[in-house]
Symmetry: C2
Subunit: 149 residues, 2 copies
């Protein structure tokens, strides 16, 4: 990924960090409130060395914060908490989940649903105009921005 | 990725296809209207064998359709056109682009902006309630759905 076109592309830059499958699944678990190495490992079934590497990358990228904690009588341990940038990945994960539920269904129905906390009613990811009006996907175009070559 | 939890997770299932960086970048180019092997290769600077592999996976996954075409006097060639499922990836790419522009900026500004075709005005990706009201990310929860173990 050495071309200037990709250096300037925010999708490419995001995927440099998030492109590995485990990275986004770790963020998924973190959004569920999981913070500990053992929780990520058990939940994801990921090899410890891979998990160590992915957590370090997410910390370096400013998506997770590494913090120390100590339970009574135990040695100090690390936990991993989403930063604000990490919290902002919620729409990315929800958009991926919606697409997967629609286009790669398991037959069991969605494993996770995104809901409005206050009402429990389902939400979905959509395009909004600058004045807050929903715009159908088919009425969206991608145009060159100031950073385009 | 062999655990049952991940088999049922639509994010994990989506990433099985889209997790490789090149796959989503190919979809990005396809959304810009590019259809030919040579266009994908030149634009992305990707090795031909990798591109061949990724295009085949996207065809197998029902994201791209492979079609034959023949220009005057030339031999038959293949082109790759987004299916409906592929078109539906637009919010995933826009959510990734928005996140990258905000949290991994290059200093040049966005290379691509998503706009309403009719007005040219910017749109962004957001959560919408079932009655079409925008809901802030901070008021969203993920809850277990029918497919959860």
């Amino acid at each position: 990924m050495s071309t200037a076109v990709n250096d300037r592309c925010s999708i490419a830059r995001s995927l440099e960090i998030l492109g590995q499958k485990w990275s986004l699944l770790i963020v998924r678990e973190a959004l569920f409130g999981r913070t500990r190495f053992s929780e990520f490992r058990e939940r994801l079934g990921v090899a410890p060395d891979v998990l160590t590497d992915r957590l370090a990358r997410l910390v370096d990228a400013g998506i997770l914060d590494r913090r120390s904690y100590r339970e009574d009588g135990a040695r100090e341990r690390q936990e991993y908490v989403l930063t604000e940038a990490g919290q902002c990945l919620r729409p990315v994960l929800a958009a991926l989940a919606e697409w997967g539920d629609e286009h790669r269904p398991t037959g069991y129905g969605p494993a996770v649903r995104y809901v409005e906390t206050a009402t429990g009613k389902p939400v979905h990811v959509a395009f909004l105009s600058s004045d807050g009006r929903p715009v159908p996907d088919t009425e969206i175009s991608a145009v060159r921005g100031p950073g385009a070559l």
